[in-house]
Symmetry: C2
Subunit: 126 residues, 2 copies
């Protein structure tokens, strides 16, 4: 089993999340050893939530689970790439298809270019 280098990132390794069909980059999240194991075991993306300080099964509250299609590891074992099928069609908690829905212009200004798929107020009920 591949040994990821969790030391460089204080126990965390960044996971780049990409749609397995379109190649769109959806988000970046972090995994720890436990969420890495859970992801391999279940075939669904599990991360480490830095804000809540807990294992985060993506889609637990929204239903928008990420089905793992392929996993790649980089040359120095400190980043992984998840190619996934995004249930619900949107990865971002804002309702946009991708977290990278804003484009940066030459002066560093931003413009919204992404597509909104759902209304977060309806998806994330209390």
């Amino acid at each position: 089993m591949i040994l990821l280098d969790f030391d460089k990132g204080n126990g965390l390794v960044p996971a780049i999340v990409q749609d397995y069909k379109s190649g769109k980059v959806y988000m970046l999240a972090y995994i720890n050893q436990a969420s890495w194991k859970k992801t391999l075991e279940t075939g669904e993306a599990h991360y480490w939530s830095r804000s809540r300080q807990e294992i985060w099964h993506k889609g637990d509250s929204s239903g928008h689970v990420q089905k793992i299609k392929e996993i790649y590891v980089d040359c120095d074992n400190d980043t992984v790439l998840f190619k996934i099928e995004q249930l619900g069609g949107a990865a971002c908690h804002t309702g946009y298809e991708t977290c990278f829905y804003r484009k940066v212009g030459p002066e560093g200004e931003v413009a919204i270019v992404g597509k909104k798929i759902f209304d977060p107020e309806k998806v994330y009920k209390k």
Copy 2:
């Protein structure tokens, strides 16, 4: 100008690097405030080298500069996505087209699936 959140990562923000045409994810690198500014000013990717602790103009020793085509920022301003044109055809210092040239199998084992473009011994001379 967009204010990236450099605080969460101790002064660094991860940059996902993707080929602007094929959509292949090439690598993950880190930027600090100075390399972010340099990238916007020059249109060529500049990173922060964590191992050398210095600004790293990608391609300086190999000639394999990354021309910035588009930049996106994520929903909480703590990750950027560089869509680039990779001069020399390979982003990884190993000579592979992408740093993610190894695929992880169901048991966590890895297999080389990437394409080797150059011989690093010839490109990185002393």
